[in-house]
Structure formats: C-alpha cells, structure tokens
Amino acid sequence: MTKNHVIAVLVNDQPGVLQRVSGLFGRRGYNIESITVGQSEEPGLSRMVIVTEGDDTTLEQIEKQLYKLIDVIKVVNLSANPMVSRELALIKVKAEPAERPEIMGVVETFRAAVVDIGAGSMMVQVIGDTEKIDAMIELLRPYGIRELSRTGVTAMTRG
C-alpha cells in the first residue's frame, strides 16, 4: 500500500551530498514530495528530511540505498513512530483594505501571522503540519493568492 513516509537522513556536510541523495531518488524512480536540508546538532553534519511516497518495500529499498552512500551516516524512518512535523509557508494574498479584517480573522484562527502589508496585498506566515498549511491555503485561496512559498517538512520523533 502506498503512503507518505517521512525520513531523516544524517549526512556529512560535503559539497554534492544533496545531489547524491536527490540523484539517487531520481535514478531509482523514487518520488520526493519534499526535501529540506539544514544544520544538525553536530558540526560537520547536516540533517535532511525527505517526504516520499511508496509502499513498504519501496521504503525499505530507499533506506538501504541511502545507506550505500558513503556520506550518509544515519537514516531514520520518522513516520514509523509518533513525531512532530512542521512546515512553514509564506502566502502573499490579494487584500484590498476592505477585505483585510476578514483575512485577519482567518490568520488568527490558525495562529498564523501577518508579516508584511503592501498596497493591495498581505503576506501571511503560517507554521504547522502539512494538513494545517493545506487548510490555510484553501481558506485564503478565494481572496486570490499572488505568491506562495512552502519550505517542505522538517520533523523529529517525539520524546
């Protein structure tokens, strides 16, 4: 059965390592829904969080293939356990002064924030799991979304 999996990959912070990882996915026909990279708790190591879709056999192969890369130190299937996952989105929404109070209402309900206001638009920042961000976008869509930028998921297991 195909479903979404979230995997964390601890890698050496080397030039080309993102290319190695993403190239592996492309070449072997695995899907990447999102990929984020940044520093980890240890200097010299980065953590990638990859959201991918596939059945359990595919996930097993992905983990094993990742381990074949010399720069990969550790692979953890985060979605196998309770986890916290967060994504950030910036949404620039069309907002004439008359519509602003209504939009502010949506923003507050989602505990999002308005981080910029332009002549005919507002920029909304929302943080949460993927579903929350999807919902926020759907609610703002009727006003007219001018620009949208999502970071992709970062995540950790609980406890």
């Binding site: 050496n12 080309g16 190239g23 592996l24 070449r27 056999t57 381990y67 890369l69 010399i70 550790k74």
Partner: protein, 581 residues
C-alpha cells in the same frame, strides 16, 4: 611464456624510499600515495589538466604507466587488471573529453562491482564552473555510476582521500571510486604526511553474518527436497570459492554459477549444472524453477538470470547471501536474508551444514537432465563453427588460461564451451554488456599475470571498438592471444532479429571491416587467419608457440545462433532449444 614486463620493487623498499614527510607537490603526493597503496601498474592518457601529474612521472619507474591509445582502453585495462588480480585497478585521464571517455568503463566496473580508482584532472579550482576549456563536471556525470567520488580542493587532503578511495573501492561491495584533481591542486606544494588512519563514519560494511539467520538456513537445508545453489561473482570477489566447494560437497546441493560466477566452482564437478538464465543450461533453469530451496550466494538476481520475474523459482524458499544489504529484496522476495562477506559466511556456515539427505531423488533427476540436455551444436566439415573454435581453445589450453571476452554471441559460446575451473580466469562485462571491453581488459589481465596465458575472445564488431590498443601489446610485448570470431555480422543482434524481429536484418552487416590480419600487422602484432578446422588448429598452435602478442582471426559460419535461449518475457524454463534439442 612470460610478458616482457619489468618487475616492480617490493613495497617495503618503496616505503623506505618514499615515506619521508617533506614539502612536495600534489602530483608527487599522488604518485607516492599510489605506491603506498601497493599500486604496480597504472593505465592512462595525458592532457593539459594532468600535466603536473605526468611531469612528476618523468623518469619515475616505481610503477608502470601504460599509455593506451584511448581512455576507454585505459579504463577497461584497469578493470581487467582488477578482475584478474583482486587488487584495485588504477586509471588516469585528463579533464573534459579525457574524463568523459572513461564513463563507459566506470559504468562497466560499477555494474560488475569491480574495484577501481579513477583519477581525472580538472581545470584549476578558480575556473571550475566557468565552462573553461576542457571542463566537464565529471564528479556530477559519474555520480550514479561510482561507489563514491571526490573533488579535491586542497593538496593537503590528497593522502587521506587516496587512502580512503582505495579502502572504499576494495571493501564491502566493491566498485569504482573517482578522484577529480584540479590542475592547481596537482601543482600545489604542501607537506606530505604519509600515515593516515581511516575514519569513515558512514561506511561500515557488514562482514560477519547474523548467527540466527545461519541457523535458519541450516534448518532449511535439512528440510529441502529440491535444493539449489545459485552462485555469482560475489563468491570470486570475496575469495570464497574454496568455501563454496566445501559447502556444496558437504551439503550435496547441486549448484549453478552465473556468468560472472564462472570459475567460482570447478566445471567438471558432479554437482555443477552450468550457467542459468537466458543462455544457460536446460538443467540449471529447470532446477531453479522446480527447486524448493534456492540459496543465492553473491549473486544479484539480474534479469538475464531470472527471466520473467513473477514466474521465477515459483516453489522455492529463497535464501540470499550478499555483502550489500540493498540487494536483498531488490528483485526477488527473500525468505532468509543473510548479510555478510561471502567468504566469512561460508566459513561460519560450513561446520554447521550436513548432507541434504532428502534430496537423493532430486540429484538423480539433475544427473538425468545433464545427460539428456547438454549444450549441443551441429558441427560442419565445410565451415568453421564458432562453438567448435571455443572447444578447441579449451582443449588446447586444458581450460587453464585467463580468458576475457567482448560482448555478443562469442561471449555466450565462451561461457558455454570453455570449461572454467579457477576463480578470476573468466573476465567479461556482465552487468553493462560493454562492447569494446574484452581486448583492453585482456591487456590489464596480462599485466596482473605476466606468466599466464591470456586469451581475448572478440567478435568482429567489438574488436573494432578498441582495436587501437593493439599498439600497447606490440610496444610493451604484452603476449595476449587475441581471437576474433569473425561472422561478418553483429551476431547477437542478428540472432535477435532472426528470432524476434522476423528475419528483418536491420543494420548488422559488418561489410567494410578491415582485414584483421593486416590490421594486426600494421600495429606490429602477428596476425593469422583460419577458415577451416585444419587451418584453425595450425594457426592456433602457431599463436601458442609465439611468445608475443598474436591475433588469430577465425572466419566462421554467419548464421549460427546461441542456444538454448530464453526470450524476453518468458520464464527461464520456457527455452528455445535450437540445436540442443
């Protein structure tokens, strides 16, 4: 017979001479580091970006550098050296076109898990990314076909990188490692510190298998009524052939060896069933399909072996022994996975294994199949048959030569009719199926074994893909016996067109091929031609008596097909038997 190849000094002497910490160039560090890794022989081709490296080689004779005539020749030769010796093969090429010319050879080595260190030059670090003259992103290009790669940014890192590269190439699942060295780095002067320990946090191949899994295998063997061993190249690479012989004889389990596994098990042995798969034996394929326990050892279930996957070994419990955990479950669902080095696994397993006593009827069935359906061809007194030529090569060399092949029908006939009994005696491009591989690989194999007879068997098509390396044989007196099986066509393609494309022979006619005898002679290599059995025997004997390189062209029957054959989309027991019927 012996190649005119000068002896290399002992590593001890070299260490003493070169181990001094001192300020030297990146190029000198490279050469010294190669020596410290025990490198005896390097194949390469110079150019602008590696000129500092070649300058450092001037007058240097602590390893041999063979100047091939094409980078493809260099990398296949390094590959042949590695396969024949078990050591790491080394190749040097310049940036841009030099580097990209090695791509086919890198992919060939990657598919067959051959340890190589490929050193490429690159433009100076300040020019990288500017589309400078002869710039190519070779680390990027080769990422999917290398086990690992390095772009060196500081000469200080060179000793560590080279040490790591050799370690990675020749441990775990072996494979090619690329080291890309920008020109300024090869010129940069730094203090050379020879000693380096290896600290690769993300790289710890599992050598010792899980004991409980071995217990499961032992239990499965005692239950099995129709067990089969499927052994592959991994047995040879790990040095596990003696363990394999012991395992098979202790357990009495019939065994088949894949193309790359030929030589891992003595071909004359009662338990041996021949090669499986597309052009394998009737016996091996039937045995796999009817088995109730299939023990794969160092083989990866390539589609040329399995045929249609969903009908492969339908009744068998599958055991998969492999050093690479990612191979397990990749193509075939595994019941007992065993991750570990094949040699180590077999050493631990053998004392635990008993005779599979429930399999007596099975062994009898297999003997009957072997009797009833051996490889067969219709011989002729008018034309030379390629199978007959291979049999003659086998008989006259008592199966003791190192044989390399190119890719095509001649490759399959060699696999079928030459009887391999020792590991590392059959060298062929299995996974990638690279035409142009066979002849340069033979040069490398001969460099690894100057005193052994090395035969390179080629088609008339593939011979023309790296024929320029005849020069290397002539100049260095490398006594490879080059066989050209000339059927005037791209034979294997012709066979597919006949059997699958309705006799529509599109673009397979090799009219315009050179006179191979004259071609050899033009390079200073002795050339001989045979068109009948009598001529063939005489020419071949003359080649064997000659202590230099000789090319022998055997003009053979054009329409010959390789049988048996499993066509694509069939299960492996659905075989076209052809002349083997």
């Amino acid at each position: 017979m012996s190649a005119q190849i000068p002896a290399v000094r002992s590593t001890e002497q070299l260490r003493e001479k070169w181990m001094k910490p001192e300020v030297i160039s990146g190029s000198e560090i490279l050469l010294r580091s190669l020596l410290l890794e025990g490198v005896e022989c390097v194949f390469g081709y110079p150019g602008g970006a590696v000129l500092y490296i070649y300058d450092a080689m001037y007058g240097f004779d602590d390893f041999h550098h063979l100047l091939t005539r094409h980078e493809q020749g260099a990398i296949h030769a390094a590959d042949g050296y590695a396969r024949a010796s078990g050591k790491v093969g080394v190749c040097i090429a310049t940036s841009g076109p030099g580097a990209t010319n090695t791509v086919t050879g890198i992919a060939t080595a990657y598919m067959d898990s051959v340890p190589l260190v490929v050193i490429t030059g690159n433009v100076a670090t300040s020019l990288i990314g500017t589309d400078a003259f002869q710039e190519a992103d070779i680390t990027g290009i080769t990422m999917p076909i290398t086990k690992h790669s390095y772009l060196v940014r500081d000469a200080e890192d060179l000793p560590r990188i080279i040490h790591e590269a050799f370690h990675i190439a020749n441990t775990g699942r072996k494979g090619p490692v690329l080291i890309d060295i920008p020109k300024d780095v090869s010129a940069q002067k730094v203090r050379f510190e020879p000693e380096h320990s290896i600290d690769l946090r993300g790289y710890h191949p599992t050598v010792v298998p899980n004991r409980l899994q071995l217990d499961k295998l032992v239990a499965a063997i005692s239950e099995a009524e129709r067990p089969v061993i499927l052994a592959g190249g991994g047995v040879i690479y790990s040095g596990g052939h003696e363990g394999l012989l012991e395992f098979a004889t202790r357990s009495g389990i019939p065994i088949t060896t894949t193309l790359l596994g030929l030589g891992a098990f003595p071909s004359g042995h009662d338990l041996w069933m021949g090669m499986p798969g597309m052009h394998g034996t009737y016996t091996a394929n039937q045995a796999i399909q009817q088995s109730d326990l299939l023990i794969s050892i160092g083989a990866r279930f390539d589609d040329r072996v399995t045929g249609r996957l969903d009908g492969f070994a339908p009744h068998a419990k599958i055991v998969h022994i492999d050093i690479d955990p990612a191979e397990i479950g990749k193509n075939v669902k595994t019941d007992i996975p065993i991750v570990g080095d094949v040699k180590t696994v077999l050493e631990m397993l053998n004392p635990m294994v008993g005779y599979s006593s429930k399999a007596d009827a099975w062994r009898a069935q297999i003997s009957r199949w072997k009797q009833e359906k051996p490889f067969k061809y219709k011989d002729s007194e008018d034309v030379l048959k390629p199978q007959w030529v291979i049999e003659m090569l086998n008989d006259t060399t008592h199966g003791e030569a190192i044989v390399t092949t190119d890719v095509g029908q001649h490759q399959m006939w060699t696999a079928q009719y030459y009887k391999f009994n020792q590991p590392r005696s059959f060298i062929t491009s299995g996974g990638l199926g690279t035409m142009g591989f066979g002849f340069p690989a033979a040069i490398g194999a001969q460099m690894a074994h100057p005193d052994r007879l090395v035969i390179s068997i080629n088609g008339d098509g593939g011979m023309q893909m790296c024929a320029q390396e005849l020069a290397i044989c002539a100049i260095n007196k490398i006594p490879v016996k080059i066989v050209v099986i000339n059927n005037q066509v791209l034979g294997m393609v012709r066979q597919w067109q006949e059997l699958i494309y309705d006799n529509r022979y599109s673009h397979i006619d090799l009219a315009g091929s050179p006179d191979f005898v004259k071609l050899a002679e033009a390079y200073g290599v002795k050339g001989l031609r045979a068109t009948s059995k009598e001529e063939a025997e005489r020419a071949w004997q003359e080649a064997l008596d000659n202590d230099g390189p000789v090319l022998v062209e055997f003009v053979v029957h054009k329409g010959e097909n390789v049988y048996p054959m499993v066509t694509q989309g069939s299960t492996i027991d659905q075989m076209l038997m052809g002349d083997c019927e």
